[in-house]
Amino acid sequence: MKNRKEKNRTENVSVRLGMLFRKKKAAVPAFLLLIVLLCLLPQVTSLYIQRNLIMVGFYMVLGFSLNFVTGYIGEVSLGHAAFYAIGAFSVSLLTTDAGMGYWPAVVLSVLLCGLFGLLLAFATMRVSGTYLAILTLAFFYLVMNIIQNWEGLTHGVVGIYDIPAANIFGFAFTMKNGGYYYCILAYVLFSILITRLLIGSRFGRAMKAVREDPLAATMAGINNQTFRVIAYVLAGMLAGLAGTLYAPFCGYINYLTFTYNMCLMILVIIITGGRGTMKGVIVGSLIIAPLGEVLRGLISLFDSLPAEYLPDPEQWRFVIYGLIMVVMMRLRPQGILGGKSRLDYRMPAGLDKKEGNG
């Protein structure tokens, strides 16, 4: 009897692990090969390319984070950079002013971000749709406003200088030794893992049910508030984790490091790739994150023209993000890789049509 249980358990574990690479047998070696290649990449590329790859990595993690909320719950969050900022500021303050070690500071910061995720989930409990989007934007402004003005804690507009490099067992990360690259690569893999586990779990199935038909899901006893809260906490923690690496990567941060543009960029990433899909996040961040650099490169092709006639790649990048949003919604609202069949967002019943009896 006991043996059988034991056997069941091991089988379960292997099934679970199998689900991580569900598709085809060949997918496992291909995936491992890809990881090996990614690991070798910094050895052969320039620091400039590596830097861009690291930025893609950061946005990939942020994309996975937002995907919990926007992809699986179907709520547009416009304040996601707030978690990124909280993670970054928290780890910086803990490692500088509080003199804490890097990894304990990371753990504390990520927990703090989870707490803020919880807070945001509760504060927005009764709204959805645009109301929610605007509240999350207000949350972003609120957080940034406090970071900007609470001089005693966050050093106000001055920001935090000399953030110690992230390190592992005393081995400090730099660009040269590829520390940041491998760390963000690990975070991306961790994001994929956690998303996979989540989709395969009861949570994933429940979320799918809620998304397809909220009313039926409620009838079936799925408490979508619980799942909603879990999604927000996870999203907060994951974005915060990215922030805890971003701060030492930059070495200096202030309230202007984290902007509304960043919030929108994360959203554009998952819209481009496809809401609620993992491939979508990966492809989206590969396209969107380097866009600024690509534009800069394109514009520099015309460097024979006087500088004042050349467009500013930064601003045009944002216009392009806006256009992507509008055009994608018009032509392919489910994203490049999103499936067609999904019914993902609906007005709550009774809103689109008011009752005749008033």
Binding site: V127, T130, L267
Partner: protein
């Protein structure tokens, strides 16, 4: 000092109300919060600024032209971006993301054209001060409040006394029935976008005159505060928008008085969170539209 702050609060609050009305009207007919409204507000202020400072037009002519152009922008937003989505039946998240995208395009094109720095905006009513009860109150504030009041009354007359207004209310309450009685629902929606954008342009002009500057990021915070006002009063309700605007404006001014100006922006956000958590219908809102 106290009285002055109250008057400041009323002036700025009435401007919030004028912006809030735009959110409310569009919400009324489409059940959609037009996220691009704050960008339209900024666009309106810039349109007038161009007329006054670059083309050196007469101020009233500049305002008229700026408001008309902004109204056309509102129509364009609806026709180009939102109407095609409605035809496909995609009214939820795609419509929301489209309005976010439109607002982002407008703001960044403004930044490309005008730069991100502050531009001096003429104080429209720089007529000195009135002294009442020992307080010195600027004509500027009084006139802004009055101008908003006149516009809000006009809007309310349009909604409640004209045939177009009747059609608006009909579409708002029962779109299907409006259509089968021969109301062209798309025309009504276009008209609402025009009205909303035009009033946002006027509000943008007045707020720019109040602070005496304009820049592309100018509407971000004010748009949010106006939305807070609309939510507080009850979205979809015109008197609600006015009440909400006044409360947010006055509370904010008094908060400056009591707490200093550092955290002033937080007041409106906290009000918004509180309202949407405790009473999402707002003060004067109808029950049926609780969750959006």
């Amino acid at each position: 000092m106290f009285l002055e702050q109250i008057v400041n609060g009323i002036a700025i609050g009435m401007s919030y109300a004028l912006v809030a009305v735009g959110y409310s009207m569009v919400f009324g007919v489409l059940r959609l919060i037009n996220f691009s409204h704050s960008a339209v507000f900024t666009f309106g202020a810039f349109a007038v600024w161009v007329g006054v400072e670059m083309l050196h037009l007469n101020v009233f002519l500049a305002i008229l032209a700026g408001v008309a152009i902004t109204g056309v922008l509102g129509i364009g937003l609806n026709k180009m971006a939102l109407e095609p989505l409605r035809k496909k039946g995609e009214t939820g998240m795609p419509a929301l993301i489209t309005t976010i995208g439109m607002s982002y395009i407008i703001i960044n094109v403004l930044t490309i054209v005008f730069g991100s720095q502050m531009r001096r905006f003429p104080a429209l009513f720089n007529w000195g001060q009135i002294h009442i009860f020992g307080a010195a109150i600027g004509w500027q504030q009084v006139m802004i409040a009055l101008a908003c009041l006149v516009l809000l009354v006009t809007l309310s007359l349009i909604v409640n006394k004209t045939k177009s207004g009747l059609a608006m209310r009909a579409v708002q309450q029962q779109p299907t029935a409006a259509a089968i009685n021969g109301i062209n629902v798309n025309h009504v929606i276009t008209f609402v976008f025009f009205l909303g954008a035009a009033s946002a342009a006027i509000a943008g002009t007045l707020v720019a005159a109040y602070y005496q500057y304009v820049r592309p990021s100018f509407g971000d915070v004010i748009g949010l505060k106006a939305f807070a006002a609309a939510v507080l009063g009850g979205i979809g309700s015109l008197p609600g928008a006015v009440l909400g605007g006044l409360i947010v404006g006055v509370v904010e001014s008094l908060a400056v008085f009591a707490l200093g100006s550092t955290y002033i922006d937080l007041v409106a956000y906290l009000v918004m969170f509180a309202v949407l958590l405790i009473r999402p219908t707002g003060l004067l809102g109808r029950k049926g539209i609780k969750k959006v």
